[in-house]
Amino acid sequence: MDTESDSTVEVSRSVSVPLPQAQAFELFTTQMTEFWPKEHSISDAELAEVVIEPRRDGRWFERGVDGSECEWGRVAVWEPPRKVVLLWQIGADWHFDPEFETEVEVTFSAEGPDSCRLDLCHCNLQRYGDSTEQMRAIFDDPAGWTGTLAAFAVLAGVQAAAGD
């Protein structure tokens, strides 16, 4: 809806994992390379590593196979083992923009001694709406929106075929 641009836009996802809270927090923040979708890289170099510097104001960046580093954002909140907030500063043109901020807020809640729920909220996505021209660029980039839309369409097709 058009009114959406006047309010906040966010995406929330939760997942439960069979790990103690502290271990889940550590896995998420130190092993991001292992679960990050490899094609989601904004560098020219192939993605080798995703790094979160474990402190407030730490950098969040990708390291390419050639050793080059490409900024993604910063650590806004660092409260192990309960909470980490990462600033996602990748603009609609797929480039790091220090002036642009969306927040990825991740909280870890113990559900038992060996069980933890992760709640993730990617907030303030409406800020992408401020840059319509950039949105066009992203959409026209085969590696960006169009590629994603195509992948999404394939997925939707699969779901439709499954009779969902």
Binding site: V15, L19, F28, F35, L125, M135, R136, G157
Partner: protein, 115 residues
């Protein structure tokens, strides 16, 4: 979300979106390019419009359709899909780590935990 999935869950509509990704196109041109009638193309465009995937504009006597690039809906869909995949991957990794831990505890002493 459902409207978008429904809209994309049709081969002809996906073909239309592919063609529109190159720039605005008129209904008549789409009908010429696709193996469906002009009324059918119009019907598909209406579904895509309701899902906020395309917008229409009038140029003289022609109606042009283009992909809705300003829609934040696309941004939302994109990140929703992205985090779903990423967190699914994370859960798989966490489960593997939990299994490893259980195995280690199991060989270290007899108090093996289930699950």
């Amino acid at each position: 979300m459902d409207a978008v999935l429904d809209a994309l869950g049709d081969r002809t509509r996906r073909s239309i979106l592919e063609r529109l990704s190159a720039g605005p196109v008129a209904v008549g041109v789409l009908a010429d390019q696709l193996p469906v009638s002009r009324p059918a193309v119009s019907q598909h465009l209406r579904v895509l419009k309701e899902a906020e995937l395309v917008v229409e504009s009038v140029a003289g006597t022609r109606r042009l359709y283009r992909i809705d690039k300003s829609g934040l809906r696309v941004v939302r869909e994109y990140f929703d899909r992205f985090w779903e995949t990423t967190l699914d991957n994370f859960a798989i990794l966490a489960e593997a780590e939990a299994r490893d831990d259980t195995r280690k505890r199991g060989t270290g002493n007899r108090r093996t935990k289930k699950g």
